[in-house]
């Protein structure tokens, strides 16, 4: 039985698609048969970020409508074994999706032997976002360190508690994880952005990881490669940690504290302690 993960946030532009791509690719790197589904019907970003936009023939809507089989619509990633993408349609009306149809797709993915189904939610709290979360077993709530993003995440957590199949059927509640993206420890320390502690204080859910603000994310996205594949970069390494934590490895959190100052910066601006030492 596949485990269904929704990547959601409420607010747009916080890094849901980047996260979906890297979580799915990271799971596949770890040896799990994984599919990423783009629920953002009408915009279609996941295939771009994952670099398979030229290979899209069928999509989620065509499968739900019965115009193509799931096997026809799934795109196999060329770099990572075990990684598959089910793209969104750019041309179809987003009303084309319905709960029953999505349910059939999720169920069939389970019978095809997938371990993880990663659902990339559209922004907002409307039908599209609710469809993406409905069948989820676990949710990764993506938040930027700013007040409006955190408020929207709080709102989404309320929906996850009320509007998912698990909630409606009274089963064990959906498991929620917090992922803070575009984090700059130095700016949090100076009060320019919310700190991870501030965010945890309001949302009160388990911290899955912190992704530092990084040029590597933009570079990877422009090249059509999930940043997790460049694990030597700060953001890529952080996503790999997140994936490993998700599947059960106990790794310490990183990127919470500002980087230690280097030799030269210390040399040119002595710390108060060294001033007193003389």
């Amino acid at each position: 039985m596949a485990k269904v993960i929704v990547v959601t946030s409420g607010k747009g532009g916080v890094g849901k698609t980047t996260t979906s791509a890297s979580i799915a690719a990271g799971m596949a790197l770890e040896g799990y048969k994984t599919v990423a589904i783009d629920f953002d019907v009408g915009l279609r970003n996941l295939d771009l970020v994952m670099g398979c936009e030229r290979r899209v023939v069928y999509d989620l809507v065509s499968v739900v409508k019965g115009e193509a089989s799931l096997r026809q619509a799934l795109i196999r990633d060329k770099r990572v074994e075990n990684l598959h993408i089910l793209p969104a349609s750019q041309t179809r009306d987003k009303e084309a999706l319905d709960l029953e149809g999505v349910g059939r797709v999720v169920k069939e993915l389970g019978t095809m032997g997938f371990d993880y189904v990663v659902c990339d939610s559209p922004a907002g709290i409307e039908k599209g976002a609710q469809l993406a979360m409905y069948y989820a077993d676990e949710a990764i709530v993506v938040t930027n360190p700013e007040v409006s993003s955190v408020r929207d995440s709080d709102r989404i957590l309320g929906l996850l508690d009320a509007k998912t199949q698990r909630a409606i059927e009274g089963r064990e509640p959906i498991k929620t994880h917090l992922l803070v993206t575009r984090y700059s420890p130095a700016r949090a320390a100076s009060g320019e952005m919310l700190s991870v502690d501030d965010i945890l204080e309001l949302l009160g859910i388990e911290l899955l990881g912190v992704i530092p603000e990084s040029q590597a994310v933009l570079n990877a996205s422009n090249q059509g490669a999930p940043v997790v594949l460049e694990s030597e970069t700060d953001a890529g390494g952080a996503y790999l940690d997140v994936v490993k934590r998700f599947v059960g490895e106990a790794l310490p959190h990183r990127f919470l504290e500002p980087e230690k100052r280097g030799f030269f910066s210390r040399f040119f601006s002595p710390s108060p302690r060294s001033a007193f030492a003389g």
Partner: protein, 263 residues
């Protein structure tokens, strides 16, 4: 159950011709069960015969869901499930006349359909959103609440919530107290006819004594509220006394003044 006294801001020296203020009040809601103004008039006369001064010029809001079916709002925005309201043929004007003849003062219609809203406007009646809050089972946006949010307790037994009340969620403890074992986050709202106890920070809204109980209180472990209200008298965030912000506190009515005190 008349209108409650509102919190009055400090009067300023220059008094403009017009001032806007807030007031929370409760209405008697009259649910129309038959699309027949004559039958409504008769039923009203029977009620008045039993209790003659029950509704003397009482402002009432009309609930038409009994004759028109639920409007789409009661299903909730954004979930893609819309139930079109099919208003019955009876005119709102005829119903309003029957109620006025019985001594009631209709002032508003709860959750009207578009057609009913147009009729209400023509009659000078307000359209109230969220009229479903009386029979409340979830939030204002129509989300079905979680199992823990949904039960409306039997009278006397407090409504206990074991989850945070998050932004956009509204919980109503009808006829009883609300106990929240966790935070009430910004944009979240707890309404109770009795007391409200919050074992966590209150960052959203808490409205105790929603049906006019002047003895009701709000207790919380950390007062960071957007709004607290007892029986319609309310304080907004910036009106909370500074020494109590972020501190354990209780809020209660002393006469017509809302007081924040130590817990």
């Amino acid at each position: 159950m008349g209108p409650m006294q509102a919190y009055e801001p400090d009067p300023t020296s220059e008094t403009p011709a017009l001032q806007l203020g807030g007031m929370v009040s409760t209405f008697t809601v009259v649910k129309i069960e038959r699309a027949d103004p004559a039958a409504v008039g008769v039923a009203l006369q029977e009620m008045l015969a039993r209790t003659p001064d029950l509704f003397e010029d009482a402002p009432v809001a009309l609930d038409l869901s009994g004759i028109d079916g639920p409007t789409d709002r009661s299903v909730g925005e954004g979930d893609g499930l819309r139930v079109a309201a099919r208003p019955s043929g009876v005119s709102l004007g005829d119903l309003v006349r029957a109620l006025r003849a019985g001594g009631l003062l209709p002032v508003a219609v709860c959750d009207p359909s578009n057609r009913r809203r147009a009729e209400a406007r023509a009659l000078g009646l307000a359209s109230l959103r969220g009229g479903g809050r009386r029979a409340h089972r979830g939030s204002e946006t129509g989300e079905p609440a979680t199992e823990d949010l949904s039960p409306v307790s039997a009278a006397g037994k407090a409504l206990t919530l074991r989850h945070p009340v998050r932004g956009g969620q509204v919980v109503y403890a009808e006829g009883t107290d609300a106990v929240v074992l966790g935070p009430v986050n910004p944009g979240g709202e707890v309404i109770a006819d009795g007391h409200i106890h919050i074992y966590g920070p209150l960052r959203g809204r808490a409205l105790a004594g929603a049906h006019g109980d002047l003895e009701a209180r709000v207790f919380c472990q950390r007062l960071e509220a957007e709004l607290v209200s007892i029986a319609g008298v309310y304080l907004q965030a910036e009106q909370l006394p500074a020494p109590y912000r972020g501190q354990p506190a209780q809020v209660f009515l002393d006469g017509e003044t809302l007081v924040v005190g130590d817990l």
